[in-house]
Amino acid sequence: MIKPSNIEIDREKGNFHYPTSKYAFDAGIGLSEDVVKYISDVKKEDDWILDFRLKAHSIFDKKPMPTHWATKDLENIDFDVIRYYLAQGQKPSRTWEEVPDDIKNTFERLGIPEQERKFLAGVEAQFDSEAAYSHMKEDLEKQGVIFVGPTEGLRDHPEIFKKWFGKVIPSSDNKFSALNSAVFSGGSFIYVPPGVKLAQPLQAYFRINAENFGQFERTLIIADEGAEITYMEGCTAPKFETSTLHSAVVELVALKGAKIQYITVQNWSNNVYNLVTKRAMADEEAEVRWIDCNIGSRLTMKYPGVVLKGRKARGEVLSIALANDGQHQDTGAKMVHAANETSSNVIAKSVSIGEGRSSYRGLVQIPGHLRHCRNNTECDALLINSESQTDTYPAITIKGDDNSVQHEASVSKVSEEQIFYMQQRGLNEAEAMSLYVNGFVNDLIREFPMEYSVELKRLIDLEMEGSVG
């Protein structure tokens, strides 16, 4: 059970706040059919989308909370005090000049370098529930890549997106996917045409800005045959006094021979419930890779999955979780094998600091009629203090005499000898500890693009501050 944090942390750090009164659209607090209709109306959506939302809303009402296995902290979410939709009523901007100043300020506070800001073409920076800045580089357009928000995606390119929308993750998958399906706004819809290999990663920054305002972005990425794409999302959130809910749905579709790499760095503030459903479908010889790093939030429940649907498909989840005081990182991976010769790999590393708790929850399924399927799962946990906690709950179902899986998990603490060694060479204890933790997760951090791994190392240093002594 997570206690509300009463620890002294610098809450001003990353405190981006704007008066909410200027929002042009505000659906009020609480969730009802009217709110769903209102959101759909504001977005001028087709009837089928409204039907989809309403159906999802009724599923949400019926579904129980998953508390028979999950943390009881979920019961502290009060769905009636959350704002489900809020936007400035602006169209996604086309050029840098059109981006409102306050959003530019946020970028400033985030410390995005001047050079990079100009280079933010291809970046979908989400401001609350609408994409505030959306500009595609010309060569992306030339290649036929579509990179839009869900509203535009479903309105302008239904022939592409409608087919897969809500198919990888049906609304009824769980309570929070139903919630998202009912009130989603913002997010990225991406289509990469056959054979197009994107050299540069596409990026999106999400942030939450109004109090008690849950963010429900919806992402759908389709990589057509032989296409390749890397997508990155990074999160920062402003400070709030009461708990905030973030519940996204991310669907990836990798068609024959396509490759998708989805990178997340999650650093919500310590009062955010981050309950995200992420799943990919991998067709023949396709490859999907989730690289997932969870540092922030009060409670994260996120188990990226891959349904390996085509022969020789490959799925991978690399996950790093850091749980500090008052945090519970409940992360993991799901690998559903549904074709011959599919393989999957899960490597999860977690660090529990102070009173933090990290959990790994995994699922691997290989039915009996399949041949030559393989899974490898490794989870390593590091405990820093005596109050830290770590749990591992994998679930493995294997049938058939021609498949193999292996699962390994280990729990260890920081080696005193190594800390002593580093201290001997002039590092203080905190620096030594930080170096140790960085070393523990290093082989995964290397998988991140360069700027992210630098950022991550800084974040780990920051988290380790004051964790010893």
Binding site: G368, L383, T397, G400, D402, V411, S412, K413
Partner: protein, 414 residues
């Protein structure tokens, strides 16, 4: 009588009705009052069990319908377990439970305080507390060291009957003992359900080796719930061989309650036909410097299925714990299924804990090697399974017990 939904669906079984319980306790009115109270209390708790929830993590992957009591209509009063030796050893009290109730009821006074493993089969546990007449009671005196294994056999009932037993094994400080427990069937052509509760308690410095062989016939159901308390510097090594039963549910909880205690829990299961092995385990460390090592190996032929769910729990106080948990499954047929739920909950930081689970098929090269030497496939598989099990069999101590285990496994293949 109040009828609650939890037992109304069992109404076919005459022993699950309030009337039956009334007549059962009337028949046993000669028992001491505290024991009657304990039976009544357990019965009331059984009646007030909540209605089965569809989603109970403790039953994940388990086909619950196969493990209920509704198929068994009568309570069995026999067969009694047999104690093959050891009844007359100096310093060891070893008798059947019914005799102990009759002759030395005061030695059972602690029974109402004995907890079950509490890993899901609440109904089995409460009914066991309520209806156990048979079982064994074993208690050593302080410092008794007995080299010769003590053996006792238990029998599954016939004709859809249900038998509940309680075994109490308690070792006083610094005593050492080896026991062999056999579970088999009374008859081969019909089967009932045998539900066995075991309470094992080791005081300071005690050592217990236990070999358990379960070979009830394949028409029977076997429930085995055991909880083990390990005192300071005590050692318990358990080797159980599970061969029989149409379906079986075994729950095993070891509590490392004293500093420096050591708990080895090994299990081998060999499944064929449509056998089901549902295994739930916990290693709970509540004291520092404890060691536990669990290894469950399942070899599955035909359409057999195994579920392994294990948990290592380390309390904040249990620093310097070494705890390991391993589940290895060998699938020998395309329709065999192995589910594995190895879990860890670690709340102390000065620990070495790991778990591993692997599921794989027979190595084709090994098989080819054997086949190319003219060995029949069935025999080749047997040899490979024996090899797969060998690391546990070798732990069985004397050559005699090792041979006993090997023979039982080989026999199962023929």
């Amino acid at each position: 009588m109040v009828s609650t939904p939890s037992h109304s669906k069992h109404m076919d079984s005459q022993f699950l009705t309030p009337d039956f319980f009334e007549s059962f306790s009337a028949k046993r009115s000669w028992e001491p009052g505290w024991l009657a109270d304990f039976r009544k209390d357990s019965w009331d708790k059984f009646l007030s069990l909540p209605i089965k929830k569809n989603k109970d993590e403790r039953w994940r992957f388990s086909p619950r319908a196969r493990l209920g009591f509704s198929n068994f209509d009568q309570l069995a009063e026999s067969p009694k377990p047999s104690i093959l030796n050891g009844q007359k050893i100096e310093g060891i009290l070893f008798d059947t439970l019914d005799q102990t109730i009759l002759n030395a009821p005061s030695s059972l006074l602690d029974l109402p305080n004995m907890q079950g493993p509490n890993l899901g089969a609440d109904d089995t546990f409460l009914l066991g507390c309520c209806f156990s007449e048979l079982g064994v009671f074993l208690k050593t005196e302080k410092g008794i060291i007995e080299k010769k294994p003590l053996k006792h056999c238990h029998f599954a009932p016939k004709n859809n009957q249900s038998l509940f037993q309680t075994n109490i094994i308690s070792l006083e400080p610094f005593s050492e003992l080896t026991i062999i427990e056999i579970f088999e069937s009374e008859v081969m052509d019909t089967g009932g359900t045998l539900s066995n509760l075991s309470h094992i308690k080791l005081a300071e410095g005690a050592k217990l080796n236990r070999i358990l062989i379960q070979k009830v016939n394949q028409l029977s159901t076997f429930n085995h719930l055991e909880s083990i308390q390990l005192g300071r510097n005590s050692e318990f090594t358990n080797i159980s061989l599970q061969l029989g039963g149409a379906q079986s549910r075994s729950e095993s909880k070891g509590v490392i309650a004293g500093e420096g205690a050591s708990f080895n829990n090994f299990s081998l299961s060999l499944g064929n036909g449509e056998q089901l092995f549902d295994q739930r385990t916990v290693q709970h460390h509540i004291s520092p410097h404890g060691k536990s090592n669990l290894l469950y190996k399942n070899a599955l032929l035909d359409e057999s299925k195994s579920i392994f769910s294990g948990l290592i729990k380390v309390d904040p106080i249990a620093q310097n714990t070494d705890a390991y948990q391993t589940n290895r499954n060998l699938l020998l047929s395309a329709n065999a299924e192995a589910d594995s739920l190895p879990g860890l909950e670690i709340l102390a930081n000065e620990v070495k804990c790991s778990h591993g689970a692997t599921t794989s098929k027979i190595d084709n090269q090994e098989l080819f090697y054997l086949l190319s030497r003219g060995i029949h496939r069935n025999v080749a598989e047997k040899l490979i399974v024996l090899g797969f099990f060998d690391e546990i069999i070798r732990e069985a101590g004397t050559q005699e017990t090792i041979e006993l285990l090997r023979d039982e496994i080989s026999h199962h293949f023929n």
